[in-house]
């Protein structure tokens, strides 16, 4: 998408379109008209002018250009559309981004002609020029495009310069990382390199550090910063008993080794990775497998997986070799990083969607790893940083050759491939075996259901009236016998194979026990492909009666249709089924005659009916009935057994085979370099750019040589090259920001020219070098920082120091940090005594393709914010973020968030005071406080320890006494007190 800058460099080498299809046409009239060119206008007879004459140009061409084109395509227009100048002959022939506007003599090769014919871009956009005018232009071009206009075209303004890479590399962030020792050897108390660098800078700024925070504050800070949770009772006691550097180190190491560390720091990276469990946007598709990426992060942080390995996995894991299935799984799952962005899945123009996805990936990789806003270069050279648009498309080619989306979940709506993850052969075999068992059991159930149904039909048929089955009927022509449909009487049924129309028939002869009125019923298996107009003839007392039978439905499901009641005088009668002119399959199964009176009676014992060919005695009917009942019972029992077997199988299912939300390289023919998309337009393509990287980050042409694949492997290697000037700096700076409250570069996602400069460049580089040399490991880096004096400084305000350094750029004190939403919630659940520390996995299981319908249906329950698990495990469903967490500034998963905003909105206060969940936790915590002691002092101490991890002082005591008054022994009063502490600032800030 094009972007806007107030500092647009008009004339800089914009690669703009001849005509921008999205650009609305400005219709402000120009202040000059053709008469401005009066001296040049030949006022002679225009009719006489030939197309190769100046006269022709001045009378037919120039006025049109001035009236319809100059507004956007002249040196005086506000923004030059397509960098095309039409106000000089030279400008026209040099052309704009799409090439020369006019090729003298070549009508079809002249873009200007195509544009005014509305064949390519449609110019002018506010209406097609009259045909006569277009013919004038064609003649003019054909005759050589005579153009007397002189003047310097504006075009060359931008053409020459481009971006100077050499001077670009002089910018601090692109210079190589290099070591320079601090001016003073060590901090005053001797020891830590970080403090030496900081102290040097403080001296230069004329400020001194404020001194360490009190022990309780330091421990609370450390615990939340490292694990996202308050320190537990045991640690508090141990530390307060001996707040020595040795104890500090031990506690630091314990916390670094705890699961809480991995969960908390994984969440930091999830902000950058715009982690979510659904797509959001217009089509909120469930990301069923995103959790695996979260799980991968947590395990990686727990094991201190080197960051260079993590970068390689996240960019190109699918292409990396793996030692075993375990590594292969991690490799695949890590690439979920590239898939997590929110996408306009219903975009019908799939070329547009593809490039939008690529853009999101380029921008994410740029900001996450390099702190560069590459998205700016999609449409034009970066306005501030030395990133030409060609460099953007060098990277875009890599992701364009990568398959992110594939296929459609419904018409026009894109989806992605689920990548099977390797599993142990036994596990795959078990799943296969289980599926086979499921299938065969389901089959068996189906046929058992058929058997039950048949047995029942047989009963219904046999217990009433006279039945003639198809096998006793007289066939004329050839019928096909079948048992394909499961509803039939006897051993099967006949059908006409939807053919031999008019040639075949079937005659059922029946002997009724006595004359009278009978209902005639026919059995068949109904269906949409059956005939709706089967002619049936019945020999009744009124003669042969024709009835039409619709076999598509049964009037008495599942398989009987009544043709009506008829009177029969002659006990010997017949029914004929024909297939003349029928419009589908004709089925013939059994015919049943039910005496009209018996139909009304449910008790069949007094009926005088029997099967054809039987002697009609009651004993026989009785015994047959018993036999039928037994067979129904047997069939039902079998079915019951099978159904419980199926239940058992379903309950015993092995876990489903794991799938990842992973990218893959596109098939070879689709891999290739990307053209520059002029102004980001998918239909306006420039030259292909060889896939590669940013030239400013090193010497050489930064292209990928002969890559078989997309180039992601090469990109990953380039990013993790120890000489890359940005990646280690950006990562180290992120860690520093999380611990110290501000980055050394405060714009943590922007290390470019528009970002801030580092406050301590030498310190940043020193840490980056140690980080890379130490194997890109996070834990030693965190350890190094939290053991420094700087980290343990008080956050107290000091007017003198603030005077010299109001923004605390020299870190003379600790920055006071707001707890992240997750920690606030976790701490409340923890104080309530109910925090479930078990990890959670696939919380999105059970959700459909869409996490919520587009019909306006609600799934407000998706977030489960009241669950007792750690917040990192709560589903992040885009569009349904928990209001409580949003009010506390959780990262917006639609955006890459390197540094969360800290807001103080009234809405936040309202949520903290009024949320039912928070009130529930406050009540539980309040009860714990109340139950902890019988005394005011004991309860107050417990409350402060539980919520603020410190002891109350005299002032705190006074406030509590004032609030509680005579309610010191009321549990409700203590619950209210704790609720207010939850809503207070001290609880959610780290001093």
């Amino acid at each position: 998408m094009p972007c806007f800058s107030p500092f647009g460099r008009r004339g800089k080498s914009h690669r703009l379109a001849l005509a921008n299809l999205r650009q609305p046409w400005l219709v402000v009239l120009l202040s000059f008209g053709p008469q401005s060119f009066g001296p040049q206008v030949v006022t002679g007879d225009a009719v006489a002018a030939t197309p190769d004459s100046v006269d022709f140009f001045e009378t037919k061409i120039r006025p049109v250009l001035v009236k319809h084109c100059y507004e956007c395509h002249s040196g005086d227009s506000e923004g030059i559309s397509g960098s095309l100048w039409l106000d000089s002959a030279e400008g026209m022939r040099t052309g704009g981004d799409s090439g020369p506007a006019v090729e003298p003599g070549d009508i079809d090769g002249s873009l200007l002609i195509a544009a005014i014919r509305y064949e390519s871009t449609e110019m002018p956009p506010d209406g097609r020029l009259p045909d006569s005018v277009i013919r004038d232009f064609e003649q003019w071009v054909a005759a050589g495009a005579v153009d007397p206009r002189g003047g310097t075209s504006a075009t060359p303004r931008g053409e020459a310069d481009g971006i100077d890479m050499e001077s670009g590399r002089e910018f601090w962030a692109f210079r190589p990382i290099r070591e320079s020792p601090p001016e003073i050897a060590s901090s005053p108390s001797g020891g830590h390199a970080i403090d030496a660098y900081l102290e040097s800078a403080r001296r230069r700024a004329g400020v001194s550090a404020i001194g360490p925070a009190d022990p309780a504050t330091r421990l609370r800070r450390l615990s939340f910063d490292l694990t996202g949770l308050p320190p537990n009772d045991a640690v508090q006691s141990r530390w307060l008993a001996d707040p020595s550097p040795a104890t500090w180190r031990r506690i630091v190491d314990e916390m670094l080794a705890s699961p809480g560390f991995a969960e908390h720091w994984a969440r930091h990276w999830m902000d950058v990775a715009r982690y979510a469990d659904s797509n959001g946007s217009d089509f909120n598709a469930t990301f069923h497998d995103a959790w695996r990426y979260r799980d991968y992060l947590i395990r990686s942080f727990a094991s201190d997986r080197p960051w260079d390995a993590m970068i390689r996995q996240q960019i190109a894991g699918d292409l990396l070799p793996a030692e075993d299935d375990h590594e292969r799984r991690d490799n695949l799952v890590a690439t979920t990083f590239l898939m997590l962005g929110t996408k306009m899945l219903s975009e019908r123009n799939k070329d547009q969607l593809r490039m939008d996805v690529v853009d999101e990936q380029v921008d994410t990789v740029g900001r996450a790893f390099m702190g560069l806003t590459l998205g700016c270069a999609r449409c034009h050279d970066h306005k501030f940083d030395p990133i030409p648009t060609e460099d953007y498309y060098a990277l875009a080619g890599i992701f364009r050759s990568t398959r992110t989306l594939h296929g459609e979940s419904q018409k026009y709506v894109s989806t992605w491939d689920r990548t099977p993850l390797p599993v142990e052969p036994e596990r795959a075999a078990a799943v296969e075996r289980h599926e086979a068992e499921l299938n065969s059991t389901r089959e068996a159930i189906k046929s058992a259901e058929g058997a039950v149904e048949r047995a029942k039909s047989e009963r219904d048929a046999k217990l009433a009236g006279v039945v003639a089955d198809d096998d006793a009927a007289e066939q004329e022509g050839e019928w096909t016998s079948s048992t394909y449909s499961k509803s039939f009487i006897g051993d099967g049924y006949l059908h006409d194979n939807n053919g031999s129309k008019g040639k075949i028939s079937l005659r059922y002869s029946v002997t009724l026990p006595e004359p009278g009125e009978y209902e005639v019923r026919l059995s068949h298996s109904p269906g949409a492909n059956r005939a709706s107009n089967v002619p049936v003839t019945i020999a009744t007392a009124d003669g042969e009666t024709r009835v039409t039978w619709d076999q598509r439905e049964a009037t008495e499901p599942p398989m009987w249709t009544s043709l009506g009641s008829f009177r029969f005088d002659d006990p010997d009668t017949f029914v004929v089924i024909r297939n003349d002119d029928t419009d589908g399959y004709v089925i013939a199964d059994a015919v049943q005659f039910v005496p009209a009176e018996s139909k009304e009676s449910n008790d069949s014992s007094k009926e005088t009916v029997s099967d054809v060919g039987e002697d009609g005695s009651d004993e026989t009917a009785e015994s047959r009935r018993a036999e039928v009942a037994r067979s129904i019972e047997r069939a039902e029992e079998k079915l019951k057994g099978l159904r419980s077997e199926l239940k058992r199988l379903e309950a015993d299912a092995p876990p489903p085979l794991p799938q990842a939300m992973a990218v893959a390289d596109r098939p070879t023919p689709e891999i290739g370099d990307s053209p520059v998309h002029i102004r980001g337009e998918i239909r306006n393509l420039g030259d292909n750019v060889p896939r590669g990287f940013l030239r400013v980050c090193g010497e050489g042409d930064a292209t990928i040589g002969d890559s078989e694949g997309s180039g992601r492997i090469e990109l990953a290697e380039w990013l993790t090259d120890p000489d890359h000037p940005l990646v280690a700096r950006v990562l180290v700076n992120r860690v520093w920001m999380h611990l110290l409250g501000e980055g050394i570069v405060r714009t943590v996602d922007n290390f470019g020219y528009q970002g801030e400069r580092p406050s301590h460049p030498e310190l940043l580089d020193a840490m980056a070098i140690r980080f890379v040399r130490g194997g890109w490991r996070l834990k030693p880096l965190v350890r190094e920082i939290v053991l420094s004096e700087a980290y343990q400084l008080s956050s107290r305000f000091d007017p003198a120091a603030a005077e010299a350094d109001p923004e605390n750029r020299s870190f003379w004190r600790m920055n006071r940090k707001r707890l992240p939403a997750e920690s606030i919630r976790d701490a409340m659940v923890s104080a309530a005594g109910g925090l479930d520390r078990r990890p959670q996995f696939d919380r999105m299981r059970g959700f459909g393709t869409l996490v919520s319908g587009n019909s306006g249906g609600d799934r407000a329950d998706v977030n489960d914010v009241g669950a007792p698990c750690r917040s990192v495990y709560l589903p992040v469903v885009r569009g349904y973020l928990p209001p409580m967490m949003v009010a506390l500034d959780m990262a917006d998963p639609d955006l890459l968030v390197g540094r969360r905003p800290t807001t103080n909105v009234p809405g936040q206060a309202l949520v903290l005071v009024n949320s039912p969940d928070i009130n529930r936790w406050a009540e539980a915590a309040g009860s714990r406080v109340f139950d902890a002691s019988d005394s005011f002092e004991g309860r107050l101490r417990k409350a402060y320890r539980l919520v603020l991890q410190r002891s109350p002082d005299a002032m705190d005591r006074r406030i509590a006494k004032g609030f509680l008054g005579d309610r010191v022994d009321s549990p409700d009063a203590w619950r209210e007190f704790v609720a207010a502490m939850f809503a207070g600032t001290e609880f959610r800030w780290l001093d």
């Binding site: 998408m1 107030p6 999205r22 217009d282 922007n750 107290r796 809405g907 009024n914 207010a980 800030w989």
Partner: protein, 458 residues
């Protein structure tokens, strides 16, 4: 420790809330408190606030405000030009089931589908030549609400909140009434990268007014308990501030608690529709099944407008999407919205608010003049109608034309970016100068586009 609101607002590193007081030009034109992004109007403001009557789903232009005799004449005949790509309609023309008539003194054409709005025709400014991006709802809904069809951008309400702040000391600047959860949901009234305070406060959802209250304004406890709690929170916070030796973040949080407490007392009155006369409520159709929900939404919008809220959207819910059964579907939607909207116009006029309140009526796109299925219409971003009223726009006026069938906007085309530019212009804001720096760039509501449609401005 008491600090003035000006000092408070001047303190860096904090923002004041989706329920915010940072704003500032009061309804009477005076200012209080701190500075919105646009302190001096770029152009003379004609409106102080916007009410967006969002007809989500896409009402049909050729059945409402854009009569096409040629479509009637050639009903059932093939469309004489190609359909746009990616569309499911058949290339067969289908006339409108509704009759068009000239209305009022202005003679503006309005169909029988909207008889109540037709009665206010002399107050309407109809733009018949709208076009936008997005053949699917997702993109087009993004366009009308955020100016972007595919990328995450702040909503227009957030931009206006950012530009002007709220006109009420204790109320938010931006309120979304019954917005859809679909098609981007919160993104359509969100702040994206603008400070979070500019996101809308949401009342109801999916076209349903619900209880009509600000979320979390009340807790599970008695109001007197709440007051006591707020007071204790204040004391604890002040204690924390003392211990810290002074901290802007804590000061900001303390102010936020004060504001929350004030809002708890101020908002219920503004949100109480029971304070309106029975006649007014009846006029909006409150109490009648079909119009009750949207009527409440419109009446609340008027009360919020009166109180100083800058941008209020009232969504119909995603109901105007008649791929089939155009006649019954559109009729049902018109029955639910037409009367409340007409009542809103009359009510604003009665109270002298119409002149500086800009009403915007429309969907994310229009519908095809060709048939889909047997009796529906497909999406049509190529040409459709939006209607303005009040705040500085011409009245009883129609602008722009679609082609003879109402398919493509042809004459005096107005892109969605142009409409946004015009809306900001009417509020005194130059869309090119309202920018926000994020991820290394200065962003605008109108991206690099937008033209103020001077022709519709009175």
């Amino acid at each position: 420790m008491q600090i003035s609101r000006r000092e408070f607002a001047a303190a860096g590193g904090m923002t004041l809330g989706s329920l915010s007081v940072t704003g500032f030009a009061s309804p009477s034109g005076g200012t209080s408190g701190s500075s919105p992004a646009v302190t001096e109007p770029h152009v003379v403001p004609r409106a102080k606030r916007v009410i967006f009557l969002f007809m989500h789903g896409g009402p049909s232009q050729v059945d409402t405000f854009d009569p096409k005799p040629e479509l009637d004449r050639r009903d059932g005949e093939p469309l004489p030009f190609d359909l746009p790509p990616n569309i499911d309609a058949k290339p067969t023309l289908m006339k409108s089931p509704w009759r068009f008539e000239r209305r009022g003194d202005s003679g503006l054409w309005v169909s029988d589908l909207l008889p109540e709005m037709a009665g206010e025709a002399d107050s309407l400014c109809v733009i018949r030549s709208m076009h936008t991006r997005g053949q699917s709802h997702g993109q087009a809904v993004g366009m009308v609400n955020t100016g972007s069809d595919n990328l995450v951008r702040p909503s227009i309400g957030a931009w206006i909140s950012y530009a002007l702040g709220s006109g009420h000391p204790d109320l938010p600047a931006h309120v979304a009434i019954s917005p859809a959860t679909a098609h981007g949901g919160p993104r359509n009234y969100g702040a994206a990268f603008l400070p979070a305070m500019h996101q809308a406060t949401v009342i109801g959802r999916n076209g349903k007014f619900g209880d009509g209250k600000i979320p979390y304004l009340d807790g599970p406890h008695e109001p007197t308990d709440a007051d006591r709690r707020f007071e204790l929170v204040r004391q604890l916070n002040r204690r924390h501030l003392e211990r810290s030796g002074g901290d802007r973040g804590i000061e900001g949080a303390i102010q936020a608690v004060d504001l929350a407490a004030r809002m708890r007392h101020a908002a219920p009155e503004v949100f109480d529709l029971g304070r309106e006369s029975e006649a007014t409520r009846r006029d909006y159709g409150i109490g009648e099944k079909r119009t009750d929900s949207y009527g409440r939404g419109c009446l609340l919008a008027r009360r919020l407008a009166e109180a100083g809220v800058r941008f209020i959207s009232v969504s119909s819910g995603q109901v105007w999407d008649q791929h089939g059964n155009l006649r019954s579907g559109h009729q049902k939607n018109a029955d639910a919205t037409d009367r409340p909207i007409a009542a809103l116009i009359r009510d604003l006029k009665r109270r002298g608010l119409w002149d500086d309140t800009l009403l915007v009526w429309g969907g994310e796109f229009g519908r095809t003049p060709v048939v889909q299925g047997s009796n529906g219409r497909d999406h049509n971003p190529q040409g459709f109608t939006m209607v303005l009223s009040g705040g500085g726009v011409k009245a009883g006026f129609a602008y722009g034309e679609t082609d003879e069938f109402g398919y493509h906007a042809r004459v005096d085309r107005v892109h969605m970016h142009d409409l946004h530019a015009t809306m900001l212009h009417l509020l005194g804001v130059d869309h090119k100068r309202l920018t926000y720096r994020y991820a290394g760039r200065d962003f605008r509501l109108t991206d690099v586009y937008g033209r103020v449609v001077d022709e519709v401005i009175a």
